[in-house]
């Protein structure tokens, strides 16, 4: 029996029809909080309109009048790290009896800051100093002349970044300084986290909870924290609780003579704990290959059996190197320690701020063994372990929709396997996957990416820009749209080197074109003609039409390389909007930011 009378049930139906799952989940959280509040106070009215986080209807920017709760945690996050830290802080605040709102910068109207009293900002930096897409508007608003004075605001910033980039933690740094400039009161000094964020993020969370309790006390009423709830009873497999999944298929999908080996991988997903959506990533835990570990042992002449205790856990050196530390990626701490230990002046020079770009370039082409080989030094086991980052799972965009492939998740994996100075180097995850046969088991989890979703309104058109393995989520998108019976058009812009060698999923795209499930396909193959042609060239070439699509409410998605492709595509889009929309470059940039703000321009770049 429904607790609602038919009229109210109908009103509820009207209210919730067309809402996407994320919004529905938000409402469930909101009404749960409302229930708790009414049970406590006996109040009758809702306070949605004047308070609390307004659920952001897709395509409509959020606005709200006054803060819903004494503490607001705003995060800007590209890969989900920022979101996770913000959510942990939210739980920490709640646990100490403080009402808090955790909100993505994309869902937060920057003007609202003037009404805030207590804000924590978790801001990641993307690529070389860029704000993450969801925080772009907030960043631009705050750094502009339009930003209001914020004399009544207290705040603290946690900056996330990657020290191999020259402008490490740039976004957080700028926001921190700017808020102070605008008159806000800094509660405590900003903390900058490197890729291995835990050592600094955990203490910061404690400090933030402590500061909030000190300032606000704990008398504030408890309310539901608006964090996504899943409708399923079982929690989603996560980084902390991965699941074993079985590999069903592993096919090379580039031609024999292609420059890269790219695999189409199919995983059997066990149950609803693996309910991913197209746009989500699948994380895969791996170990480093034995040969790579042995090479490190050999180069450092350390005893692999020696026991090493770091951060309270004790394992053999071999175990640390095999399953707990990164040896395929080089991080700044290693370079610093190596410079100290080897006394090498070149290394020390690289660490100078002005050499950051050079250093980062070197990082991208080298693994730990290369550095140890080129700069011999005396190591002790603990120092080595401490100089290395924790081994992180590798994330791959889901290349399928469950609505089409049922209990499977598909991945598109570029295999990293090359030689450097005569020695073989592999990416641990992609290499392990490349040699895995059906039946092999992987530890994996779902990394949700709520910002990268097909429009809930199926009648909207979408443009998908995804060269190389960046095309993976769009395979999922198209599958999803077909399964949903979405009537909107799908336009894919793909790029690669050679049409005949690395046109990923070519046969499938041709099939979807034929079936009118893909409505437009433009391709750019850089090495098929004398001039290098990339996706941004196609964007400019078809600018008039692309802009016409944008004007009709189309969503644009970009996935793939963050270093060069994403900025080039971004610039091309601005150019197209300026040219065909008769706007200044600045207005065109605003137009594009506006799209990002309403989630019609989303990027998943890495």
């Amino acid at each position: 029996m429904l607790p609602l009378d038919p009229e109210r049930a109908a009103r509820l139906d009207t209210l919730i029809e067309d809402l996407d799952p994320a919004t529905l989940l938000w409402i469930s959280g909101y009404t749960a909080g409302l229930a708790a509040e009414r049970a406590r106070s006996g109040a009758r009215s809702g306070f949605l309109a004047q308070s609390l986080v307004q659920p952001v209807a897709p395509h409509a920017p959020a606005t709200r009048a006054t803060p819903a709760s004494p503490v607001t945690v705003i995060y800007g996050s590209q890969t989900g790290n920022g979101r996770r830290v913000a959510e942990r802080l939210g739980r920490g605040l709640e646990a100490s009896g403080l009402q808090a709102t955790v909100v993505s910068a994309a869902d937060y109207s920057p003007k609202q800051l003037a009404q805030e009293r207590f804000v924590y900002l978790v801001a990641s930096t993307h690529g070389d100093g860029d704000p993450p897409d969801d925080a772009r508007a907030l960043f631009e608003f705050l750094t502009s002349r339009r930003a209001p004075r914020l004399p009544s605001l207290a705040y603290a910033v946690l900056a996330l970044g990657d020290s191999s980039y020259p402008r490490f933690c740039h976004t957080g740094r700028v926001l921190d300084e700017r808020l102070a400039e605008l008159g806000a009161r800094r509660l405590f000094a900003r903390v900058d986290c490197d890729v291995d964020l835990e050592p600094k993020a955990a203490p910061w969370i404690d400090q933030a909870v402590g500061a909030a309790r000190g300032e606000l006390g704990t008398e504030a009423p408890r309310l539901a924290i608006v964090t996504p709830l899943r409708p399923t009873a079982a929690p989603l497999a996560s980084r902390d609780q991965p699941l074993e999944v079985e590999l069903l298929a592993n096919h090379r999908i580039t031609a024999r003579n292609a420059d890269r080996d790219v695999r189409h991988v199919e995983l059997a997903i066990p149950d609803e704990r693996f309910d991913y959506e197209p746009g989500d990533a699948i994380g895969v835990f791996v170990e480093n290959p034995i040969a790579a570990v042995e090479r490190i042992v050999e180069l450092t002449a350390l005893d692999p059996a020696s026991q090493v205790t770091v951060d309270g856990s004790t394992h053999s050196l071999r175990s640390w190197l095999t399953s707990r530390r990164e040896i395929a990626r080089i991080a700044r701490p290693l370079v610093e320690r190596l410079a100290e230990r080897s006394g090498d002046r070149q290394l020390a020079g690289w660490l100078a701020p002005e050499s950051a770009t050079e250093l980062r370039r070197a990082f991208s082409q080298l693994q730990v063994a290369d550095l140890l080989r080129h700069f011999p030094a005396a190591w002790d086991p603990e120092a080595l372990v401490r100089a290395l980052h924790p081994l992180a799972p590798r994330l791959y965009s889901a290349a399928s929709s469950r609505r089409q492939v049922g209990g499977e998740a598909h991945l598109t994996v570029a295999v990293i396997d090359y030689r450097h100075d005569g020695e073989r180097r592999v990416g641990p995850a992609s290499w392990q996957i490349s040699i895995a046969s059906p039946g092999a088991r992987l530890r994996a989890f779902v990394e949700p990416n709520a910002r990268f979703r097909v429009p809930t309104d199926g009648s909207r058109d979408i443009i998908m820009i995804g060269p190389g393995t960046g095309v993976a989520p769009f395979r999922g998108f198209v599958q999803q749209r077909v399964a949903d019976g979405a009537r909107g058009r799908n336009w894919l812009i793909y790029g690669g080197r050679h049409r005949e060698r690395d046109f990923l999923y070519q046969a499938e795209w041709q099939e979807t074109l034929k079936r009118r499930q893909l409505h437009r396909l433009d391709v750019a193959f850089s090495r098929d003609q004398a001039d290098k042609v990339y996706v941004q060239h196609r964007i400019r070439e078809h600018g008039r039409e692309l802009f016409a699509w944008l004007e009709k409410g189309t969503s644009v998605y970009v996935c793939g390389d963050a270093e060069r492709m994403a900025p080039d595509v971004h610039a091309a889009l601005i150019e197209v909007i300026a040219t065909h929309g008769a706007r200044s470059a600045e207005d065109a940039a605003d137009y594009l930011n506006g799209l990002a703000q309403v989630k019609r321009y989303a990027r998943d770049v890495y």
């Binding site: 090379r252 031609a255 024999r256 795209w509």
Partner: protein
Amino acid sequence: MTELSAVEKIKAESRGLRGTLVDSLADPATGGLAESDTQLLRLHGSYQQDDRDIREQRRLQKLEPLWRFMVRLRLPGGVCTPAQWLAIDALARAHANGSLRLTTRQTFQLHGIAKGDLKPTLAALNAALVDTVATCGDVNRNVVASSNPVESPAHAEVAEWARRLSEHLLPRTRAYHEIWLDGEKLTGTPEVEPIYGNTYLPRKFKTAIAIPPSNDVDVFANDLGFIAIVEDGRLAGFNLTVGGGLGATHGDAATYPRLADVAGFLTPDRLLAVAEAVLTTQRDFGDRTNRKHARLKYTIADRGLAWFVAEVERRAECKLEPARPFAFTSNGDRFGWLRGFDGRWHRTLRIPAGRIVDRFDLPWLTGFREIAKVHTGDFRITPNQNAIIAGVDASARQAIDELISRFRLDATEHLSPLRRDALACVALPTCPLAMAEAERYLPQLLSRVEALLERHAISHVPLSLRITGCPNGCARPYLAEIGLIGKAAGRYNLHLGGDARGQRLAVLHRENLDEAAFLAELDGLLRAFASERADEERFGDFLWRTGRIRGPARA
């Protein structure tokens, strides 16, 4: 009325063979063409094919097949100048797979051309005064003519008739110029095809001219044929042959190879009118509902030769005279130097399977190129996939011989008669129709059969063996003494009993044999042949005489 075949609709809607070829060629998302354009492309002289060796691999790679194009040149009578040879050779190396394929219809095929290279290839050919118009598809294909060029003045005259016939029966659409040569684009309605109409022919149409005693063109395998009648050293006219064709479909009894009928005699001045009348009769009466029943041979078989001849006479506005006597002695080639009536020399070189390519120890592609640079006569491609260096002055022979020897083009000089006369179609990996290997398997097959001949001490006896990868018959296996017709990977139908003059069909002897089985079968028959052979008797004749094969198709 039964529905027209799908290809008929494509032709009718093609606006003079234009279709959407320009868009298809420009589409960067695929190395192939739109389905309907692949049909139209044929009439421009090219087939879309793929590398079948890696088709399955690419399917698993979720990549489309590795589309490539075969380009077939129009070379009436197989005549090619040294300048043309050099141009074709350059294209083979620049855009194709580095080889030239001489075909059983006296022309070159270039294989392995990528879509983007198609237009430059055709444009370069055009610059060398060669085209590919109507060499494939439902039109009159390359006209073949007995290739030994100048045994008499009549031979030169026949070669000229082959050229004129080919020109006369060409489609008139400007589509070829528009699409491949940047000619002016059509505005308004497409041009009228005076001979073909807008749906061209129901099916392919092959034309040959033979000069007895050589039947190297296998004139009876052609839809339309002319047997030159030379009287007192001058060309008196031609016997008309109609309704030949070798293609069949496995397991479909309604399809069959058929030898042409001799319909009568005509003087040379009637040649074009009669040819056109044969073609337009087939255009109007051929079956356009079933492509397996659409060749002229079925039209004649269904309606009768008398009806057909009357229709042709009415259209050509002339009466055929009674056929004149003729006699063929062979459908093979004569190798080595031959002297022509005018004192010039011609040397025929054996090219197994017609493949000219640089191999490590046999740099033939280079060899022919070097010869083309100094040669002042011309080249002739023979219907037996061989090449003639023709019109060499006596004084130039030595220089040519030195080049032949340096590039080992004489390596085939001492081959067994079996190896010298064998034919194979292209088949795998490029031909989409192939069901079994042919060209690639030929050398191994010949070694196995040679071993049998040696065992029975008959290696010196001429024996014609032809193998194809499918029953369409490109290498004319139905006319061989031993014909192997591919049925599946490693399996062939064994046909026996052709007469080596192209006048008697081989009959299906055993079906679906693997190599061991057909070699065992041949072993027994060759043993009998070796012991019971009459003087100079050929294997095909022997099989009939001794009743070891029997069938309906005796000539």
